[in-house]
């Protein structure tokens, strides 16, 4: 009787713990970002490719001197990606089209549920309530999982130092500006107001309103509204996003959903299996003992006259 109760308790306890943990894991899929999160709406129809945002970022984040000046249009010959020395770059698309080139600013999109954060096993990344995805170089071990996980190729790695691993990317000017409610340096310098800073929720309304008011100007989609669970940086475009180098194959589920089911099993395995198997082990062991003892007892009884 005692043994049965013990096993029952083990099983019930283990299952409740396991279910509790996995339920929490599932619930994270419905997270739609912090309600007060800020963001930036990029209107690619307004951008003139002046690269002032690149210069402002370089100065604000105290990055090394660029390879070539910030008014050199020769950089548009190739697609660039953000690096440890340039947290944001402007690329040019649709160059041969009569409507002229379309410029697209690239940087960390500051996901609501960042893949870099999910993939980091030392918790170097934090999604702040203001919407920024920031990074702590003190705990980083330089595994670069975040660079592989990021669907937007945002994090860059500083290969100059072998002993001090540092991943570098846009932090939405968190330390110097966002923390105090101020717009990032790129937004402030943009002459065309191609970048609009505000609460992410408000920016979504503005974006849809711009599409509604001038339907000929935009394709009816706000990139970043739903992609990988939503991002703090949102984009409007005059042509299909695939033509501007955007990854249009991304799912609307956050990257964490790809691994959540598997990771949800971990607490279950950790809590149920020890209880289950030690229970089975004890059961077998006790039975062996019990039967043996019983046999000897009965034998003794039998030998009694």
């Amino acid at each position: 009787m005692k043994r049965r109760n013990f096993l029952k308790a083990c099983l019930i306890g283990g299952t409740t713990i396991a279910l509790g943990k996995t339920n929490k894991g599932w619930a994270s899929g419905s997270f739609e970002g912090y309600p007060e999160a800020m963001g930036v709406l990029v209107d690619t129809t307004r951008c003139i490719g002046c690269r002032s945002c690149e210069a402002a970022c370089n100065k604000e984040q105290k990055l090394p001197e660029p390879d070539t000046s910030f008014d050199d249009p020769s950089v548009f010959q190739h697609d660039r990606r953000p690096t440890a020395k340039a947290y944001t770059v402007v690329n040019s698309y649709q160059k041969g089209q009569p409507s002229g080139p379309v410029y697209r600013k690239v940087q960390c999109n500051h996901c609501n549920e960042p893949a870099c954060l999910t993939s980091c096993f030392v918790n170097a990344y934090t999604k702040t309530q203001e919407g920024a995805v920031i990074y702590n170089s003190k705990v980083c071990v330089g595994c670069r999982n975040c660079m592989i996980a990021c669907p937007f190729n945002a994090p860059g790695y500083d290969y100059d130092s072998a002993t001090n691993p540092v991943v570098k990317k846009c932090i939405l000017c968190y330390d110097t500006r966002l923390k105090y409610g101020k717009p990032p340096a790129c937004v402030e310098i943009c002459p065309q107001e191609a970048l609009t800073f505000g609460h992410r929720a408000d920016l979504l309304k503005l974006a849809h309103e711009r599409i509604r008011a001038t339907p000929d100007r935009y394709v009816d989609h706000v990139y970043g509204e739903k992609e990988v669970g939503g991002t703090s940086w949102l984009y409007l475009a005059p042509v299909g996003f695939d033509k501007l180098g955007f990854d249009t194959t991304l799912s609307n589920d956050p990257i964490i959903s790809n691994v959540k089911d598997f990771l949800g099993m971990v607490p279950m395995v950790l809590s149920i299996w020890p209880a289950l198997f030690s229970g089975i082990h004890l059961l077998c062991k006790n039975q062996e003992h019990g039967e043996h003892g019983h046999d000897t007892d009965s034998n003794q009884e039998d030998t009694k006259p």
Binding site: R46, I48, C50, S52, A55, A56, N58, K59, E65, P66, D67, T68, S69, F70, D71, D72, S74, V75, Q77, H78, R80, T83, K85, Y180, G181, K182, P183, V187, E188, C190, P191, Q192, E193, T196, F197, G198, H199, D202, K205, L206, E209, R210, A213
Partner: protein, 174 residues
């Protein structure tokens, strides 16, 4: 009817400039030239030839929207501003904020639930989009940064102009 009204407006505007007296349309005098970018650090201040633009555009509303009291052509604007009278301030900075994204501006915008013009451009954005947009469309007029406002010394450092022509990063990859 509308072209007739245009002609009157144009004639009045040109007349106002030629006699360089307070305009017949509004109380404030129409300036012949305006110094823009007065507090610019990276780019120098420059003179905007207002008179020349009035002569070539002839339509106040193209830049000043409904504020000068002339006929509003945009059907969306006309829904409210069809019969708007001239406003006290017609300059860009009278409506377009120089700090459109400051915490104070954003908070005021959030607090005002009745506001219609939620997506009103800041001063810098409004001016650049208006100037460059029109110059590009008409194909006549400066569109480059330094065509209007030359860079200052500080501006040259900001844009790292001394590194112009240096080998771009992508050249190494090839």
């Amino acid at each position: 009817m509308s072209s007739y009204k245009h002609l009157i407006v144009a004639a009045l505007s040109i007349g106002a400039i030629s006699v360089s007296s307070p305009a017949a349309l509004q109380c404030a005098p129409v300036p012949d030239s305006i110094t823009l970018n007065q507090s610019g650090k990276l780019f120098s201040p420059f003179t905007f030839n207002h008179a020349k633009h009035i002569q070539s555009i002839k339509e106040c509303a193209d830049c000043h929207h409904h504020t000068t009291g002339t006929l509003v052509l945009d059907p969306n604007c006309a829904r409210c501003h069809q019969n708007s009278s001239p406003t006290a301030v017609v300059s860009c900075k009278g409506c377009h904020s120089a700090t459109p994204f400051s915490p104070e501006t954003l908070a005021a915008k959030r607090a005002d639930k009745q506001r219609y013009h939620l997506d009103k451009m800041g001063l810098k954005g409004a001016m650049h989009q208006n100037c460059i947009g029109c110059h590009a469309k008409v194909g006549n007029g400066p569109t480059g940064c330094q065509d209007c406002h030359p860079r200052t010394k500080e501006g040259a450092a900001f844009y790292s102009t001394n590194r112009k022509g240096a080998k771009p990063a992508h050249a190494e990859e090839e």
